[in-house]
């Protein structure tokens, strides 16, 4: 077994996606990185696990039985613990391309993006229109509303925040999205799917906030541009599951000299004069166990490694379900996202369903993995909160649902003690907030903006 160096430029704890992107970027920039995880696998909370691991994690089987054996080879399953999809024109895609991590991964389109209108037996599921043509065909709107929606989408396409002439007489820095909707005469149902299925807001807070309209328009455009890129939906998904993403960035870091260690317990995080100075840790799973100490001027990590430096800001509910059929109303899509806007089911937060299948090498042929999630609004009976989503799934072969999952945020920005902590993966259906966090942490710890474009140019030592 080799030796750990006496010091590094950065120590990173936890191999979630946020941490792995940061390690990759810092390594390419020439920093000497030591990246440690207490688990025996990459990904932390954002890992993809096999069915056996999932049963054992949730413990929903009888001692002595092996229910996973009924589902083929455990290794054929790569089930995400955090349900998210990539926006094909989003920032994560940009980072993947700029860093060349795309070389290690293969992506496939998600076949459709759907929204539910109404509830119970009257619920209908329809494709989210992404452009003016689709708006005119959509069953989500009546004939006159379709025209209003078409006018709105066309305006979004031409809107330029700097060009007052494109503002239709509205004061964009002060008006609300409600003002914009009213200007176009859009009905509440249309506002619902624009805000929740296209702008992907989790609640209705954006509607009445003054000055929020340009941001909303940006989000609608990101949705539209993402759909336009490959055609079927705004989303793409990596073959073998989301757990491939952190692995890809860890490899990027490693080929630029990053040192990786799994199975390591952090025994002590040391400080000198109130600032981070080093760690004491033990690598297990090897004989003999390897105890070591090393120093660094800064440390990055996920909140689980710094329980006294993070606070809970909410809880997400998730149910991971194994199905033998595609979701009803999705035209037998091998994968999809279905959004149930909060107002349709009397909630404050949307319910998301993300469904992938053997088309993405996450399960054997004939199976589908659907994850239903939302933000917890009550303190009990959480399964009832997810029920409108569960109702969309039809017959469920296996269901895994644990207690509400706390969402953490750091207490401080880290500039005082050089401890930079990431946020937990939130309830959004995509990675845009994750990459925001990456950029934010990079700005705080490196003292400059993160520019991924051209990152590897000039530092690439070997090319094909």
């Amino acid at each position: 077994m080799e030796e750990i160096a006496p010091s590094y430029d950065v120590i990173v704890l936890g191999t979630g996606l946020t941490e792995c992107i940061l390690s990759g970027v810092l390594s390419v920039k020439g920093k000497k990185v030591l990246h440690i995880d207490r688990n025996d696998h990459y990904g932390g909370e954002a890992a993809s696990v096999n069915l056996e691991t999932l049963f054992k994690k949730y413990g929903n089987y009888q001692e002595g039985t092996k229910p996973w054996e009924a589902y083929g080879r455990p290794a054929d399953w790569n089930i995400d613990l955090v349900p998210k999809l990539l926006m094909s024109s989003g920032e994560l895609t940009n980072i993947l391309v700029s860093t060349d991590v795309t070389r290690y991964l293969e992506f496939k389109q998600v076949a459709g993006s759907y929204v539910q209108q109404g509830t119970g037996s009257k619920a209908t599921v329809a494709k989210v229109p992404s452009d003016a043509t689709e708006a005119l065909k959509s069953p989500l709107m009546g004939i006159f509303e379709k025209r209003r929606m078409k006018a709105f989408i066309e305006w979004v396409g031409t809107f330029d925040v700097k060009d007052v002439a494109s503002h239709k007489g509205m004061d964009m820095s002060n008006c609300t999205m409600k003002d914009v909707y009213e200007k176009f005469g859009l009905e509440p149902g249309t506002r619902d799917f624009i805000g929740h299925a296209m702008a992907l807001y989790l609640d209705d807070g954006y509607i009445d906030a003054p000055g929020k309209a340009p941001e909303t328009i940006d989000r609608i455009r990101l949705y539209g541009n993402s759909v336009a890129r490959y055609g079927k939906s705004p989303y793409i998904y990596p073959l073998y599951g989301l757990g491939e993403l952190p692995q890809g960035f860890a490899r990027l870091s490693a080929i630029y000299g990053g040192t990786y260690m799994l199975n390591a317990n952090i025994e002590e995080i040391k400080y000198e004069g109130g600032k981070f100075s080093g760690i004491k840790a033990t690598m297990t799973g090897v004989e003999p166990e390897m105890k070591f100490e090393t120093k660094a001027p800064m440390i990055l990590g996920d909140p689980s490694y710094f329980p006294d430096k993070a606070k809970v800001v909410g809880h997400v509910l998730r149910a991971i379900c194994v199905l033998k059929h595609p979701l009803a109303g999705t035209n037998d899509a091998d994968s999809c996202q279905l959004i149930i806007p909060q107002s349709q089911v009397g909630r404050k937060n949307d319910i998301y369903i993300a469904c992938v299948s053997s088309a993405h090498n996450v399960c054997p042929k004939g199976y589908y993995v659907a994850i239903v999630s939302t933000i917890a609004e009550t303190s009990a009976n959480h399964h009832l909160e997810l029920q409108p989503g569960i109702d969309r799934l039809g017959k469920i072969e296996e269901q895994f649902m644990g207690p509400p999952i706390p969402i953490y945020e750091p207490l401080e920005d880290g500039t005082k003690d050089n401890v930079f902590i990431s946020k937990s993966y939130d309830a959004t259906s995509h990675f845009e907030t994750t990459t925001d966090d990456v950029q934010d942490i990079y700005r705080r710890c490196a003292g400059e903006e993160l520019k991924v474009e051209g990152l590897r140019e000039g530092v690439q030592m070997t090319e094909e």
Partner: protein, 246 residues
């Protein structure tokens, strides 16, 4: 290895992963194969996503995508992604260092557990230039010197100048038991290096080959739903579709 002859042969990409203890000469073997080059005291590998090299067989061309561990094996932290879809593996040991064969056996077991069932594994004993056998290794004019053919020095020769600690028979018997291809090589002199890759190329079953993008690729057997695959690198990828995949 440039090939200028005649009609284009079918071309297939093969992912090949390198495994073995640190400093047994994994990267040196690849460097010899890819660039026909050798560097004394090579630094551990940095910055290469993977190297590619073509291997021309009589009926087809195999394009190896060679993945280096990037040091992630050092603290037992190699990601499952590394083995994913690998069609071939080169498990390297240093035939002057007994512990490196033990480690090689560990990797073979790991591959049998984690990798695709049809993977072609080659066991390679490197640093043949440090043994007496190197005299018989024949045909190359390069001077023998005291330098080892890997990043780290060998254990030093015994009186006969032969630093070999692992007999050919021992490793060969093990390779036969596990159905592995087996070679003894010297990355330093180049002895047997291209032979290893050619043997791997020949051993890969025709059925497990998928064509690379390029002319004729549209006829390739595609797995269901392949039309949904996306190429994130945009124009660069589109251009590749229109031109030869070479």
């Amino acid at each position: 290895m440039a090939d200028s002859a005649g009609a284009p042969r079918p071309s297939s990409s093969v992912k090949l992963v390198l495994l073995g203890e640190a400093a047994v000469g994994k990267s040196s073997l690849v460097l010899r194969f890819v660039n026909n080059d050798f560097q004394e005291n090579k630094e551990p590998t940095i910055g290469a996503a993977f190297l590619t090299q073509k291997c021309n067989l009589p009926t087809r061309t195999i394009k190896f995508e060679i993945w280096d561990t990037a040091g992630q094996e050092r603290f037992a932290s190699l990601a499952p992604m590394y083995y994913r879809n690998a069609q071939a593996a080169l498990v390297v040991y240093d035939l002057t260092k007994p512990t490196s064969l033990i480690k090689a056996k560990h990797w073979v077991a790991e591959l049998q557990r984690q990798a695709s069932p049809g993977i072609v594994i080659a066991l390679v004993g490197n640093k043949l230039d440090l043994t007496n056998a190197s005299a018989a290794a024949g045909g190359n004019s390069e001077d023998e010197d005291e330098e080892s053919s890997g990043a780290a020095g060998g254990d030093g020769g015994d009186e006969s100048g032969d630093a070999r600690k692992i007999s050919t028979e021992e490793a060969k018997t093990y390779a036969e038991e596990e159905s592995l291809l087996f070679f003894e090589t010297s990355a330093k002199t180049g002895h047997n290096v291209s032979e290893v890759f050619t043997a791997i190329a020949n051993a890969i079953p025709e059925t497990s080959l998928k064509s690379t993008r390029g002319p004729g690729a549209s006829n390739a057997v595609s797995r269901g739903g392949d039309e949904q695959r996306v190429n994130l690198t945009g124009p660069r990828g589109d251009a590749a579709k229109d031109s030869c995949a070479c």
